[in-house]
């Protein structure tokens, strides 16, 4: 009789498709005190640095662009919980670490009031913006091209060259809209793109050379 392991249930929308084991966790992931936010300032600084690096590496490995606090808490996410040593990050610890990511510029809240969804920048937003411009220019739409946001998101997701190797294993290749909006804000500030609302939804117009 064949014994089959049941596939991992996918709860969140950005769960990695491949087995989580394919990511090599650093050795400290096995150390119990790393799952408690340290009271001593210098040690905590070190601890937050380690988590920040790990989250960025993990998200790059699985091509994850957004992390939700709700998903992060679930035991399906092997990043924040280690069954072998029976330790997991509590919600307050997660908030602390996410806040650190935002402060260091490696992430941004998609909604700063809610603080629920985090946009992860394992490549800097500037690089993403350059990539978007490159893709748009490839289609020759850099002068007055108009796109809807979902259109642009799937286009960028298809043609994007950032983290190409990792993307082969990723479940979701489209760029989340919130993520795209954050990049577009950057381009709007430079005057290279303009986001507008119509009654059919939001669109963007490019103008750069």
């Amino acid at each position: 009789m064949l014994i089959r392991t049941t596939p991992v249930q996918e709860t969140g929308n950005h769960q990695p498709k491949t087995e989580p084991a394919s990511f090599a966790f650093p050795p400290w992931h096995q150390y119990p005190p790393l799952y408690t936010i340290q009271p001593c300032a210098r040690t905590r600084e070190r601890q937050l640095y380690l988590w920040r690096r790990l989250i960025l590496d993990y998200c790059e490995h699985f091509w994850i662009l957004t992390l939700r606090l709700y998903d992060a808490e679930s035991p399906q996410m092997p990043l924040f919980c280690n069954r072998a040593i029976q330790r997991r990050l509590s919600r307050s610890a997660l908030q602390c670490i996410f806040q650190e990511l935002v402060l260091s510029g490696d992430a941004a809240w998609s909604n700063p009031e809610e603080k629920e969804e985090l946009l992860i920048f394992w490549r800097s937003p500037r690089l993403w913006a350059d990539e978007l411009l490159r893709v748009v220019a490839q289609y020759g739409q850099n002068k007055g091209g108009v796109f809807t946001l979902p259109e642009l998101a799937s286009m960028l997701g298809e043609r994007c060259s950032l983290g190409r190797q990792q993307r082969a294993q990723a479940l979701q290749t489209a760029i989340p809209i919130a993520f795209l909006e954050h990049i577009l804000e950057l381009l709007a500030a430079q005057g290279k793109a303009r986001v507008f609302s119509t009654n059919e939804g939001r669109g963007v117009k490019f103008d750069f050379s």
């Binding site: 990511f23 150390y31 330790r87």
Partner: protein
């Protein structure tokens, strides 16, 4: 019967003086001769020692027992070839280089792991890490030197002594007088010295695989709190609130038998930059 008295005359005195002078010249000549001979012997011996060190350098460096005896020989002669770099001996014997290099590696490992362990690292862990680095170094050399030199605790002690002059606080501290196992303290907070209570905490943590909780030591709260607080401040202890029994545990990451340094080659920016995710089974099995 009265002893016969002799009167010394002029001639006798003169002769005595003359003889004394003769003795003196003869003696000084003899002394000079001896000195020359000794000096010659010294030069010969120096040459021999040098030749020996040169000829058997590899053996001296690779064989811990031989090295210790060779060093004892040097010590007995009043020669300390490792502590004084400028001395002729160190240049002659060419061994100080090796200890200076060893010291450099010790400092590098200690500094790279300081954020973890507050500067306290087990001697055995340090030795393994050193050995690994030396092995890696040897890998690039010719095949005959592939066999890395075996580092002993004695060597580490010597290497750390060469570091003492940096005044960065590198020092071997024994937390348990009875046993050989010691800890190395790097220059985390300049000169760290532990009180007996703090040593007892570390000793206990070492015995239980790196962690300690309130029940482990039957002390009054004040005594416990003071020791723990200081060790936390030094970055040696980490707090762990996730134990299943609800007890707060304190971990000294430098005292976990198989430390991070064991698996991760040291890199300049700290151990986190390279991942070699081998699970540490020994830690998991010791959890409460």
């Amino acid at each position: 019967m009265q002893p016969r008295r002799r009167y010394r005359g002029h001639a006798t005195i003169n002769e005595e003086r003359h003889r004394a002078a003769q003795f003196a010249t003869a003696a000084s000549g003899y002394v000079e001769e001896r000195e020359a001979a000794l000096r010659e012997q010294c030069v010969v011996f120096q040459g021999k020692l040098q030749a020996f060190a040169r000829e058997h350098r590899r053996e001296i460096e690779s064989d811990g027992a031989l090295r210790t005896r060779f060093l004892e020989l040097c010590m007995n002669l009043g020669v300390e070839p490792f502590l004084s770099r400028r001395s002729v001996w160190s240049q002659l014997l060419g061994l100080s280089e090796w200890y200076a290099r060893l010291g450099f590696l010790v400092a590098q490992i200690a500094l790279a792991t300081r954020d973890w362990n507050g500067g306290v690292i087990r001697l055995t862990v340090l030795r393994r890490a050193l050995q690994r680095r030396l092995d890696v170094d040897c890998g690039t050399q010719e095949p005959s030197e592939k066999r890395a030199r075996i580092v002993s605790n004695d060597d580490i002690a010597r290497a750390v002594r060469t570091l003492e002059r940096l005044r960065a606080g590198f020092r071997i501290i024994s937390i348990d007088e009875g046993k050989k196992e010691c800890c190395l303290v790097s220059g985390a907070a300049g000169e760290i010295s532990f009180t007996e209570d703090e040593k007892a905490v570390l000793q206990r943590a070492r015995a239980t695989g790196g962690s300690i909780c309130r029940q482990d030591l039957p002390w009054e709260n004040i005594r416990w709190g003071r020791s723990i607080e200081r060790l936390l401040q030094l970055g040696i202890l980490w707090v762990d609130d996730g134990a299943s029994d609800g007890q707060r545990r304190y971990w000294a990451l430098g005292l976990i038998p198989e430390s991070i340094e064991d698996q991760n080659p040291v890199s300049e920016s700290g151990p986190s930059d390279r991942y070699e995710g081998r699970p540490i089974t020994s830690v998991a099995s010791k959890l409460p």
